[in-house]
Assembly symmetry: C3
Homo-oligomer: 418 residues x 3
């Protein structure tokens, strides 16, 4: 262990395991918030995400992200790497990063659930694992492995655990996909948003708990070492989540329709987590509470805006991961302790760099994924047929029936004929 | 890290994460053992518990519990504390204690599930997080942070990880709430207890597994340091759980009605865990098996007694957390190695102090919460309307429908009309 | 801590906790892949497995496995041991081994789900915890505690974390039980296999994630120390799992019937995990990918073969744990770095010893469990009645009803009568 002490490596390993729990969070959240006729499809996609992202990130993604490339001359040192003979630290860090990449990939799929063809999930996962996450990650974080920092980090861009690098990247792709694929049938009737009740809200809430546990690793591990700062970072993370959740509960009380309390509570908590991710290491605990609470508000407003624009995001992935991610990245400059930030920038300068990073992410990820998906849509439809959507993707995509899905469809038939 | 070595802090952090998994255990257990028409309500309450307890315990609870108060002059040092700049150990310990406080709070809600207004959960959570847990905890554990021990610990009261401090506190509040709010409609017909089948027993059993995993942190972390004792403490914990489970299985065989095997097995295992919590550090592994097994028996007898008294505890929280908690606290004096206990007391003396602690908890928590709830009930009903109870709290409290709840209610209507 | 450093003990403890998560994996997988009328029965069995295995392994199993027996003269030192006063390392290691024993036991129950009497589960768990796992484990791993290695390890047999010692032992018993108990009614009609859809595929996929997380402890902890090798071992484990999953997805595309995609993906991933278990410490990451991928192929072919032989394994436990386990044990000799293996054997010699270990497991476990179950079947039927099987084991074995099971059975009745 030349680079790191044993305790550092152990901590990164533990953190990576915790982040894996977030995959369970996505699975529970997404299959809980969607209808049972699509729940298998959604859950299976979560399994595929992880598997496909793991292989592709190992084959090339990690190498693209952390290679010491010179211009367009790629450093292939980390392609298809053998981590078993490598230094302890590199293998631990690869595992940690792999779980981050899988997180970025899995954000998208929830947004376009219930009407997308399964193939689209795989293609988007490949796009994120091989190109979008590694390249933007290279700009922001590459110094973790190689000597030369990426251009954004060199300028002082600070995104501790990935409000932008992970969550906004996933969020921008989700937004592009939501636009290209279009809303679920029946989601907007005469311009008014219609609630589509989820199949299993308790499961979705269990997902929220998995997120809170997993995020301890997401933020706590991003020190990449076992430092005295991590306990404070973890407390900041938990308090920001709780503040986000409470803000969402209060916001839900202002709504006429109380049927969204559950999803708002979940998404407010997640927005609090996303928002604190960029600056958990440079803010105080009370500031973390404010950042988390405002994160939930930003999520809430973004969701309203998406409804107004008739954009249908089945699990509010864009408001949570993109909107709260942008807010969190800005909050670094607004609240962060400049000494701890240690970028040598003034507060205004830091704010400009944070805005630059946010803009770079937007301009790199959104147009690229939008045009890619529009192009792809010409060759193969991204959306299932109206009949398949009505029937549910469990059956149309996987021929997967369950007793309950059989029963529910029989009941619906009866209801209609009856 | 002035107070603790890095490994100690790491261990407390890991333990706190494990205890968070217990929140998933409560969620699965409670929503699995209740009817689907209430399952969302129950699960949402678990999310709220955690969020609200986290914020309130951070704002004031921790400060009340661990401040160096002089009489009624409060030491406000830890109120709304900034743990990000504090010592590593304090932030870790706060996180650990926060998960304990959330555990105490969440015990209550399961007991009064399926007929309580949502507001009641929030108020009870606030009562526990701000007053009951911090004050009783101050009496028993305050020396963990400040120099001066609380009066109970000064007398030699020993409750290693909280059979009384956490579980009985929650259990006494649950008992008061069960008395004030009354049984679910249909639970007792002509004085005879009627089984109300849960919606998802596999989920409840998954909850039991989460408890076993989480309890490793609950007990293992209560050393507050990484000592050579923890592996033995963890083995004691697992063996006590297993002994409790097996005792419950054997007890279930003595029953005419075999429909309670599942919930008995789960609750026997939990009772074993609660019972070993007070003395896991001072008993041998065979003694742990005996304590766990007797814990299940105590739970079983307490449940029978509650049925006789027509007290309706939807998930047997009182038998598990209060009854087995009392037993576990006594077992410290009965079985504990006096040298390891190191209180300087004789076995009889220790037994007296344990009884004193149990009595102090009862006399402080039960009358206070009973009168508080009775008073509150005058101003705002704690119970939903009979119609809302029939309809289910998912709909009446949250307007939350699911396909399945729709279907089940349609079926019931059909059955009646048909 | 005389034997191990604190960090080593901490690592083994963490690993043991992770392996406990695998019990949640089995629960989710098995109750998800079976019908809801049996889901409670299956989940309850998972709880019993763990509890019963824990107690019996503590009472005698661990002592049989790691005692320094001289011929038939048993060393009873570890029987009903008090780990609370023992060395740190022994208690940690006992906990780790206990989770392994529970894993071996729980493999069987899924295979014979939906038609076995509950008693059979308990008896098989006892057989595995007291005899089969401890004895075969003694042959392969006893040097971990006592000086004298078992005869297989003395010859150079290498099974790092138990492709044979845990998974094949469970798999052979499962095969024997499947043969004796016979297929579920309706599984084979005129020799053709009929799909029996699971009740909750999202839950089964969540189980797959729990397995991936738990296996990090299973393989990572089997170093029994915190060495620089563990990060590479963990990466190998994850990559093998992903390669197994992807292979299974590709295989599922070759099938006419796309309804098996979900279970194939899950089982391919698990087969990848089982396969890498024996040699995760001696192969490179690319080799791990190949071993995992081929593990899924072996699983797939074994499943086809079982269908041809009309053997009904409800969750494909035999193809996953036995077939992929055998392949993984051979792969040690095929791919393993001889220097790292450090057995002093040539590649051919190593292959012979691996074959010997596989044969020893087969010849010890399979005939013994087959004849035991055949004999037992004479005295008490292992299988429920045809009526009970039709009705579902939730009701017939536990009297456990749920709203949904009630509803489904009412619907079926209606359908028939209607």
């Amino acid at each position: 262990m030349p680079d790191m002490s044993a305790l550092d490596a152990l901590w990164v390993l533990i953190a990576a395991m915790l982040v894996l729990i977030m995959q369970g969070g996505f699975l529970c959240l997404e299959s809980g918030l969607t209808r049972s006729k699509n729940a298998i499809n959604v859950a299976l996609k979560n399994a595929f995400d992880l598997i496909v992202a793991a292989i592709l990130f190992w084959l090339f993604g990690f190498g693209i992200m952390f290679g010491a490339h010179e211009g367009l001359q790629l450093d292939t040192h980390w392609f298809i790497a053998d981590f078993s003979r490598d230094e302890f630290w590199h293998a631990s860090f690869f595992f940690f990063q792999l779980t981050f990449c899988a997180t970025a990939a899995t954000i998208v799929s929830g947004a376009i659930a219930e009407r997308s063809r399964f193939l689209v999930y795989i293609i988007i996962t490949a796009l994120i694992s091989l190109l979008l996450y590694p390249v933007f990650g290279h700009w922001s974080w590459s110094s973790a492995v190689n000597e030369s920092p990426g251009w954004l980090e060199a300028m002082g861009f600070t995104d501790f655990a990935g409000s932008t690098v992970v969550h906004s990247v996933g969020g921008w792709v989700a937004l592009a996909a939501v636009i290209v694929i279009g809303p679920r049938t029946g989601r907007f009737i005469r311009g008014k948003v219609q609630n589509i009740p989820g199949s299993n809200l308790p499961l979705a809430i269990l997902g929220m708990l998995f997120f809170m546990i997993g995020w301890i690793g997401f933020n706590g591990g991003s020190t990449l070492a076992f430092t005295t700062a991590i306990a404070g970072i973890i407390v900041n993370t938990i308090i920001a989540a709780a503040a986000g959740g409470i803000t969402a509960i209060l916001l839900s009380m202002t709504q006429q329709d109380n049927s969204q309390t559950t999803s708002l509570t979940i998404n407010g908590t997640l927005a609090g987590l996303v928002a604190i991710t960029a600056g958990a290491h440079v803010v105080s605990t009370p500031q973390a509470a404010i950042i988390g609470g405002l994160g939930a508000l930003v999520m809430f407003l973004a969701e309203k805006q998406m409804h107004r624009m008739q954009l249908d995001d089945a699990i509010s992935a864009v408001p949570v991961h993109l909107a709260a991610g942008i807010w969190g990245t800005l909050a670094v400059a607004i609240f962060g302790d400049l000494q701890l930030l240690d970028t040598g920038l003034t507060r205004t300068g830091q704010l400009q760099v944070q805005l630059l990073g946010i803009a770079a992410c937007a301009l790199f990820v959104f147009p690229l994924s939008l045009s890619f998906l529009l192009l792809l849509n010409r060759y193969t439809p991204l959306r299932v047929s109206a009949e398949a959507e009505r029937q549910g993707l469990n059956v149309s995509e996987h021929g997967a029936k369950t007793e309950l899905s059989d029963l529910l469809s029989a009941m619906q038939t009866q209801e209609r004929s009856g």
